[in-house]
């Protein structure tokens, strides 16, 4: 059991290929449901999307699911990009530097996105 749970440590970011593979699939599964939810949810906003988004995000359920979606998207895409780096960057040194830069970029994207969404949510409450 402990060995099984070890496969889930580090969210796919350690050196273990199986761990990476499993988390890539977990995030993919989560995204299937979250994207179906958001596509149907956004249909009501499509008439005046830009102003309606700010009211839509005020609903706590929408806020939590939207934040989850943002985290899962960045997680999945970072794992995918790391996979591409692994396959196509030949020099080990360059691969390591690119991976670190990628992780920093992803962290910044997720930080800015979550912080902004939270700011929109808490603006008038």
């Amino acid at each position: 059991m402990i060995n099984f749970l070890k496969k889930f440590y580090f969210f796919g970011f350690n050196k273990d290929g199986l761990n990476h593979w499993i988390w890539q699939r977990i995030s993919a599964f989560l995204m299937i449901f979250l994207f179906f939810w958001i596509i149907f949810s956004f249909q009501d906003l499509s008439i005046n999307f830009i102003t309606d988004f700010n009211t839509w995000i005020k609903n706590p359920i929408n806020l939590i699911l939207f934040m989850t979606l943002l985290i899962v998207i960045i997680h999945h895409s970072t794992l995918g990009m790391l996979n591409i780096f692994e396959d196509y960057i030949q020099s080990q040194k360059r691969k390591k530097i690119s991976s670190i830069l990628l992780k920093i970029t992803s962290f910044l994207i997720i930080f800015i996105s979550i912080f902004s969404v939270w700011h929109i949510y808490s603006e008038t409450i």
Partner: protein, 123 residues
């Protein structure tokens, strides 16, 4: 002599293009486009929250022709990556591995991607 710079993994330049290989490479390529599009999403959310001028500029840009072309690439990449991702997940469960099904599902995905994008952009 140890050479750290020898070529590894898929040799795209010398690999004979086939439907299956093109679909596989497209999956990665659309993945890269989608990763880059998260920058745009992040910027849009930031502008919505903190900077009204930037928000106006960004929205005007997205409604311009160049913006629409970029959005088209994003929706196209998204639909393709989503559908092909489902195909990959079905493979992970051990289904659809014979060569006939691989080509069939690949064909279905191309048709669906084109249909969905025509629906999104023209209806």
């Amino acid at each position: 002599m140890k050479n750290n710079n020898r070529p590894i993994s898929p040799h795209l330049q010398i690999y004979k293009p086939q439907t299956t290989s093109i679909l596989s490479i497209s999956h990665r390529f659309t993945g890269i486009i989608l990763y880059l599009s998260t920058f745009l999403i992040s910027l849009w959310l930031f502008s919505s929250a903190f900077n009204n001028n930037l928000k106006i500029i960004l929205n005007n840009f997205l409604f311009s022709n160049l913006g629409k072309i970029i959005l088209f690439f994003i929706t196209f990449s998204f639909t393709y990556h989503f559908l092909n991702g489902l195909r990959h997940l079905i493979w992970d469960f051990g289904y659809g591995f014979n060569i006939k099904n691989v080509y069939l599902t690949g064909f279905i995905i191309i048709i669906l991607t084109i249909t969905i994008n025509i629906y999104i952009w023209f209806f």
